[in-house]
């Protein structure tokens, strides 16, 4: 098994775990946390795909890596908005 496959499988489990937390947790903040776990899983999956695409002297395919950076920042913006909504809801 290669490193890319290993971390890809790890990503699959992360998505499953996050989805489970999102469904079963009653507290909203825990659901936001679980949603972030799903996001991280998806990003790692991208990273594994990027690692498989290593070529031309690069350690990994830079295109998916750049997309993941964009994704992490957008996920943060979404989390901040969700947290603000949550705090407003229960003030």
């Amino acid at each position: 098994m290669t490193g890319a496959t290993l971390y890809g499988l790890c990503a699959a489990v992360l998505v499953g775990l996050g989805l489970f937390g999102l469904i079963v947790h009653p507290q909203p903040l825990r659901m936001i946390l679980a949603f972030n776990l799903i996001g991280s899983g998806v990003f790692v999956l991208f990273g594994a795909v990027a690692l498989r695409g290593a070529a031309a002297g690069f350690g990994g395919d830079p295109v998916p890596q750049a997309l993941v950076i964009t994704g992490i920042v957008v996920a943060f913006a979404a989390t901040a908005l969700a947290v603000a909504l949550l705090l407003r809801l229960f003030r």
Partner: protein, 311 residues
């Protein structure tokens, strides 16, 4: 390989705990640990740029944001909880999630050989951008429109947060006023670390054109240092109706858009750079964009205005 397996197991263990922990604060602490371990994973995945982003945003700033939220929600948490699922539904959810995970795992195992890659195209055109870091080149040249839209998305999220302000605090100061602690210890830590942090942030931004780093990572560190100074009571958050603040927030996207439109005139397309000036133009975009992102991220963490602008 043994190292990778061990790391993956630890990452999954911390993830399980983040889901299973009884106390929310403990779960958030687990999430911060998770982000830190993920940074190690990104280094192993040969993506140091992503590792920097994950360490700065995923672990650092998100951790600060969620810790603050967990503390504020602690008192009302029991009432804030929705209904708890019965054991049958939980089992059904578990089965569903295992199916989803198995599906993704199957896709991972059945990925095409040889792997499709855009790396050779990036390598072939890297010289034309004048940049040495392929990831920055993708972000600022080949997929510049994604980056432009992302900066706009950040601004929209901030508008969404501001729109949650109560009427009396409209245009006012976000968050509670932090006062310097009595023995000045926190203020001392902040005075010591904030200047160093600002230097590190500028360093990470600056090396981004040739080495791992770049505007998002640098901006996140700058934002974290600003939040640090606010927490320690050295600064207050600015009222959000201040003209300079609004200007700071839009200057990045505005310059980005202006240079993008100028691309029609000088290079025949939106966000096209004339070859000789590509690096200069990319830097011209990056500096204001970094400032705007830093301000936006910091204000995203600060939350909606809570105190009226004049009092």
């Amino acid at each position: 390989m043994a190292f990778d397996t061990g790391l993956a197991v630890v990452v999954l263990g911390v993830a399980v705990w983040t889901i299973a922990a009884r106390k929310t604060v403990a779960a958030v602490a687990g999430f911060v640990a998770f982000g830190l371990l993920l940074a190690l994973v990104w280094v192993r995945l040969a993506a140091p740029d992503v590792a920097l982003t994950e360490a700065a945003i995923g672990s650092g700033v998100t951790g600060g944001l969620l810790l603050g939220a967990a503390t504020r929600l602690r008192r009302i948490e029991p009432s804030a909880a929705g209904e708890t699922l019965g054991i049958g539904l939980k089992l059904a959810a578990a089965v569903l999630c295992i199916l989803v995970a198995t599906g993704i795992a199957a896709i991972v195992l059945l990925l095409p050989e040889p792997a499709p890659t855009l790396a050779p195209q990036v390598a072939k055109n890297l010289d034309r951008t004048g940049l040495g870091n392929p990831v920055t080149a993708v972000l600022m040249a080949y997929r510049a429109i994604d980056t432009l839209l992302e900066v706009v998305v950040l601004l929209l999220a901030l508008v969404g947060i501001w729109s949650l302000a109560p009427d009396r605090a409209w245009g006012g100061f976000p968050g509670a006023r932090h006062h310097a602690d009595s023995d000045g210890l926190l203020a001392f830590v902040a005075q010591l670390l904030v200047p160093i942090g600002i230097l590190v942030g500028i360093h990470i931004f600056w090396v981004g054109s040739t080495a791992p780093g770049g505007e998002f990572q640098g901006a996140t560190i700058l934002a974290a240092m600003w939040i640090f100074a606010v927490m320690a009571g050295l600064l207050d958050t600015p009222a959000v109706n201040r003209r300079w603040l609004r200007l700071l927030l839009v200057i990045g996207p505005a310059v980005f858009l202006a240079i993008g439109l100028a691309g029609f005139a000088v290079a025949g397309g939106f966000l096209a750079y004339p070859e000789a000036y590509a690096k200069v133009m990319i830097l011209t975009i990056e500096v204001p964009v970094t400032l705007s992102i830093a301000a936006t991220l910091a204000l995203l963490v600060a939350g909606p205005p809570e105190r009226p602008p004049n009092g």
